[in-house]
């Protein structure tokens, strides 16, 4: 028996390690974006996010010595700063492109004719020579700049509140919220009544209707785009929030009815029949008994619908349009990918702004989401 027990614990270790690896692989992409959204533009574009915590080294293009010449102890001296704005330090430096990192910081280098050049660790350089440098071609300094890892909230401030840089991600955030909340709430009640009828009322054609709902569950909404756009234009809704809300309501209904009906069918028959015997009407049974009891299913659907409407791109593009004032977050991201494909500080931050809300909802409401998934996939 010892043998088997030993094998079991070895197997257990293999399982644990492979799960750790799998989870790490699944988190890795998101973590990359998350870390990137807090890095400065400079650091994002010069090093991978996985090295965000280590010292950043960057080869600085040649800087030509310049500055006021002054006479000091009989020598002509030019002083200045290599990095006047950043707090980078010099790791190594050189004076030719062939050997850009030839000297250590602080070394005094003889350039010939009695001219010396030194670059200190902080980036301060000092060129001195026995004759005036006026009219001469001054040497160039190549350097390896080292900056400490730097993290900032600047990207988020930029993206959310600045009017120029990220062109309205804040506005899009509000737009998405405006689309998602009504589109989540409105279908619930309509679907709940229908689900009650399909679950607890006897009438001819009920089975057929349930089958029809299941059929509509998988109809690709791609088919609906043009006919509905035509319809919206014909009745005067045109492109706008009302159109998106209606479209999301229509597209969300099959899942809502299906989920809620499956849940309501499982409610105990006794309660409902007792209430009816006591003289309750169907309307009362529904509002007083079935609706409160169905809360878990309602929550499941609400979360589904919220995630779906928040993350949707196609319906919003088609029914809301691509104007700057009405663009939703997903649409904005697609635009940014096109126009600012290289500016990862803006892209990463905008993407994270759009991801944050659904992910928060996901972690808070995961229980309901899982329950909905289990009930919602057609058996």
């Amino acid at each position: 028996m010892d043998n088997i027990a030993g094998r079991k614990s070895a197997l257990n270790w293999v399982v644990q390690i492979s799960v750790v690896l799998l989870v790490a692989a699944w988190l890795f992409p998101t973590v990359g974006l998350f870390v990137s959204s807090f890095r400065t533009a400079d650091q994002i574009s010069t090093s991978g996010w996985w090295s965000a915590l280590s010292k950043q080294e960057r080869q600085v293009p040649a800087i030509r010595v310049a500055g006021e010449e002054e006479l000091r102890d009989g020598r002509y001296v030019i002083e200045g700063e290599l990095f006047p704005v950043t707090d980078a330090t010099v790791g190594a430096w050189g004076t030719s492109s062939r050997e850009p990192n030839a000297y250590e910081a602080g070394a005094v280098v003889d350039l010939g004719d009695g001219v010396t050049l030194t670059v200190s660790e902080t980036g301060r350089f000092e060129l001195s020579g026995p004759e005036s440098f006026a009219g001469e071609r001054l040497p160039r300094i190549f350097s390896l700049a080292e900056t400490p890892p730097e993290f900032t909230f600047e990207n988020y401030r930029n993206v959310l509140f600045s009017s120029t840089a990220a062109s309205g991600v804040g506005q899009s955030f509000i737009n998405t919220l405006t689309v998602a909340i009504p589109a989540t709430i409105i279908p619930i009640l309509i679907a709940a009544f229908a689900a009650y009828a399909l679950a607890w009322m006897e009438f001819p054609g009920r089975a057929l209707l349930v089958a029809a709902v299941v059929g509509l569950l998988v109809v690709p909404l791609q088919l609906a785009l043009i006919p509905l756009l035509q319809l919206h234009n014909a009745v005067g809704i045109g492109k706008g929030y009302l159109g998106v809300w209606l479209a999301h309501t229509g597209f969300g209904l099959p899942l809502a009815i299906y989920l809620l009906r499956n849940y309501m069918v499982g409610l105990p028959r006794d309660i409902i029949e007792n209430a009816k015997v006591d003289g309750a009407t169907d309307f009362q049974v529904f509002t007083k008994i079935v609706l409160p009891l169905s809360f878990p299913a309602l929550a499941s659907f609400a979360i589904f619908q919220f995630l779906w409407t928040w993350n949707d791109l196609l319906v919003a593009l088609v029914f809301l349009g691509t104007d700057d004032e009405t663009l939703v977050l997903t649409g904005r991201l697609v635009n940014l990918l096109g126009s600012r494909g290289g500016q990862w500080e803006i892209l990463a931050t905008s993407a994270f702004v759009s991801i944050a809300v659904p992910v928060a909802v996901f972690f808070l409401m995961q229980r309901f989401l899982v329950r909905g998934l289990l009930a919602g996939s057609v058996k």
Binding site: N12, V15, Q16, V19, W26, L27, P29, S47, G48, I174, N175, T178, I185, I186, L189, I190, A191, F193, A194, M201, F203, L209, A211, V213, G215, L216, L217, V219, L221, Q222, L223, A224, L225, I226, P227, L228, L231, Y241, L242, G250, F251, T281, D282, F283, N311, L313, T330, V334, L337, W344, A348, A351, S354, I355, V359, V361, F362, F363, L373, K379
Partner: protein
């Protein structure tokens, strides 16, 4: 009006309107139309109860009919007409034009690849993770972390993965993980092992699995016992054909792999590599959908009766045998459900392709092709025709689902 205010107002109007509709229509039915008093009280109650379900159903049926059922037929009609000729009926001209476009066939080919790779990979990975996390203590945390991408939009996921596929010129540090890893390979023994031998083994294993599955489907055709259902014949033939194609594909890529001249040391622009870039896009969807498969399959695995497993252990089965011979056959129904659900997602995949490549470099898929036709070249005829192709591909799953539900209802 401020859109946010309009939204609030719509919620109030929508919800109270719904409630008012249901309340007053019921009142009207009970008090005015068929009052439950007077000489006909009994008959009136019966009549009211016959009508009431339809009162409850009406708003939903109306919305379903208008927003999902009607568009199917309207799109079918649009695909048979020409907008430039004022909506005149043109028969199958749009379909013919679509068939003559190479971009359409590119989209079809890619969609078929997506349809095979994504559901298979997501279901297999989901099953693997579900099984592995089943018995460990922190399994639920692991599961919720793998499940998390489900909450991320396809566009958000595209941004996440675009950072991974990012390319910088050769003289700069790479900021995309793919290229950073790629540049670590220099063409030594390790590189050959990882980039040629390992993929070759995976391809061979894949071909073997496909051959086995194909054989499972074909075997009943060859056997003399004619007990199987005739309707399954075409399905079996299709699966067999698909399997042959897949085997051919993997063997030919095996050959390509062996003869490939791998450009070591040069950063690659992954999303512009024809053929391979489709797979890089698929990875995004697999990453998202694995969590879904895992959650459903994990619940199904929990539902496998303990006794069957115990009996297998007593009979001396090893863990692998328990998994493949006891658990998997018992949850086959759920696996099929997960597979078809992911297939539906794949058929509609649009956002990922639009955001990452917009169908350039031979990555076009049907849904994006359709969007292109409808909203960029405003060719409603061909656009609707391609939408009908998507519908046609969905149709078998639709029929299957409806049949299952009808069976269940009986």
């Amino acid at each position: 009006m401020n859109p946010a205010l309009q939204g609030l107002l719509t919620i109030i109007v929508g919800v109270s309107g719904c409630l008012a509709y249901f309340y007053f229509s019921n009142q009207f039915l009970d008090k005015v139309l068929y009052p439950a008093r007077g000489p006909n009280a009994g008959r009136n109650i019966n009549r009211a109860n016959q009508i009431r379900p339809w009162l409850f159903l009406f708003p939903a049926l109306f919305a379903l009919g208008l927003y999902l059922a009607y568009p199917v037929f309207a799109t079918l009609w649009l695909s048979l007409t020409d907008r430039d000729q004022g909506g005149a009926f043109v028969g199958l001209a749009n379909y013919r034009q679509m068939m003559s476009e190479p971009k359409f066939w590119e989209a079809m080919r890619n969609n078929m690849l997506w349809l095979i790779v994504v559901p298979a990979a997501a279901t297999a990975l989901g099953l693997l993770i579900a099984q592995l996390t089943d018995r460990i203590r922190w399994g639920s945390i692991a599961k919720s972390l793998v499940f998390m991408p489900m909450a991320i939009s396809f566009v958000g996921a595209s941004v996440i993965w675009k950072l991974i596929y990012d390319t910088r010129p050769a003289d700069q540090d790479q900021i995309g993980v793919m290229n950073a890893v790629w540049l670590a390979f220099e063409g030594g023994v390790g590189s050959v092992l990882f980039l040629q031998v390992l993929p070759a083994i995976i391809l061979l294993a894949f071909a073997a699995v496909v051959a086995w599955v194909g054989w499972l489907f074909v075997r009943p055709l060859l056997s003399s016992a004619h007990s199987q259902h005739w309707a399954l014949m075409p399905l079996r033939l299709v699966v067999a054909g698909g399997a042959l194609w897949l085997i051919w594909m993997s063997l030919s890529s095996l050959f390509d792999l062996a003869t490939a001249d791998i450009p070591y040391g040069q950063p690659q622009t992954w999303l512009t590599l024809p053929y391979w870039n489709s797979f890089f896009l698929m990875v995004v969807l697999i990453w998202i959908q694995t969590g879904f498969a895992m959650v459903i399959l994990s619940a199904a695995l929990r539902g496998v009766p303990e006794e069957t497993i115990e009996a297998a252990i007593v009979d001396g089965a090893n863990p692998l045998e328990i998994f493949f011979k006891i658990k998997v056959p018992q949850i086959m129904g759920t696996i099929v459900v997960v597979w078809t659900t992911i297939t539906l997602v794949v058929l509609k995949v649009f956002d990922i392709v639009l955001a990452m490549t917009n169908g350039q470099w031979e990555t076009q898929v049907l849904a994006n092709y359709m969007y292109d036709k409808l909203f960029r070249s405003f060719d409603w005829g061909v656009g609707s025709a391609s939408a009908m192709v998507i519908m046609l591909l969905v149709l078998p799953i639709l029929i299957w689902n409806v049949r299952n539900v009808r069976k269940e209802m009986r």
